[in-house]
């Protein structure tokens, strides 16, 4: 399984990627939507974990673009938003149910990944 992390917070994306790597899940990270599109064209990812709010192109729009080019790719959104109302906005706009509110516990993230992908491999 291969995962792409997209978050404009470098120290969050890099730490989470390393934690997934330590669990045997190959994870790459980028900090912009444009870099994510380039990366996804070069590497076959099973799943993208997207920050909702990013400069220029946010996670919701990025999801649409990635889905167009890579229809089999699954998505998990992470958001700093805390309210139920904001979560509903995320759900509606993306047509996704897989969202998580920051800060995310890695055990919960792995559980979501299993729900979406099934066998995620690695040694979690």
């Amino acid at each position: 399984m291969r995962v792409l992390l997209v978050d404009d917070e470098v120290d969050l994306a890099s730490a989470l990627a390393e934690r997934l790597d330590l669990r045997g899940i190959q994870a790459d990270w980028v900090t912009t939507a444009h870099a994510a599109l380039d990366k996804a064209d070069a590497v076959d990812y099973d799943l993208a974990i997207l920050d909702v709010k990013m400069p220029k192109i946010g996670g919701l729009e990025l999801r649409e673009r990635l889905h167009e080019r890579h229809p089999r790719m699954k998505f998990i959104f992470v958001t700093g938003y805390g309210s139920e109302m904001d979560f509903n906005k995320v759900k509606c706009k993306a047509g996704e149910t897989c969202y998580m509110v920051k800060p995310v516990a890695i055990e919960d993230l792995l559980k979501r990944m299993k729900e979406l992908i099934g066998d995620i491999g690695g040694d979690q």
Binding site: R19, P103, I106
Partner: protein, 218 residues
């Protein structure tokens, strides 16, 4: 029908809400980074218990990240606290440089989401003015949002507080987008009500690419 007072109050409340939401979002990010990196330290320890040697240079990188994000969160809370206290006194003497610095801090996320850079130029210090700090911040917050909309392609916003003959002023520049369409809605009804309550004036010069806020001592 809305009275001027109602409109000012509503505009202030909106700005308060928008600002606290934005700063709390930043705080969430800082906490998320702290949590992830603390988790990473824990992962290293678990690996060490299973026989993988600890790498001090990795530990230092992760510890430094936690330290930086703790400082970031502390700074955010300080700014939020100062903003909260700006409503304490309806009218008080403030240092305009401090107001402009606080504005820059509170709108940092808005600026970065627009991929813009903010450059602050401080005037002589202290640059005192008697004003209503919360309402001034609210008005300047609206000026900031407007300025970011009409910013030039270089995306650098210059913000300056300075003394002038008849008081003090705050300058937003260079706003090259002022010559395009869409700038006619500023200052709108809400901003005009704020200007009235602040006894201030706002001047937009499309040719010079500037937005000036003139304050007189009250």
């Amino acid at each position: 029908m809305t009275t001027t007072t109602d409109l000012t109050g509503w505009t202030g409340l909106q700005f308060f809400g928008r600002t606290t939401a934005s700063v709390s979002h930043e705080l969430k990010n800082a906490l998320a980074i702290i949590k992830e990196n603390a988790g990473l330290l824990n992962d290293y320890l678990l690996m060490a218990e299973k026989g993988t040697p600890l790498k001090p240079e990795r530990l230092k990188i992760v510890a430094d990240r936690i330290d930086q994000q703790t400082r970031r969160a502390d700074t955010l809370i300080k700014h939020l606290n100062r903003f909260g206290h700006s409503i304490d006194e309806p009218l008080t003497t403030v240092d305009l440089n401090e107001i402009v610095s606080l504005l820059a801090a509170l709108t940092q996320r808005e600026v970065s989401m627009k991929q813009a850079t903010l450059q602050l130029a401080m005037g002589e210090s202290p640059m005192t003015v008697k004003t209503a700090p919360f309402w001034l911040l609210t008005f300047l917050g609206h000026c900031m949002t407007f300025s970011l909309k009409v910013l030039g392609p270089e995306k650098v916003l210059h913000l300056q507080a300075e003394k002038v003959e008849d008081g003090t002023r705050i300058l937003f520049s260079p706003l090259s987008g002022l010559q395009g369409a869409g700038q006619e809605d500023f200052p709108g009804e809400a901003e005009m009500a704020l200007l009235k309550s602040l006894d201030a004036a706002c001047h937009i010069d499309p040719d010079a690419g500037t937005l000036l806020v003139n304050l007189t001592n009250r």
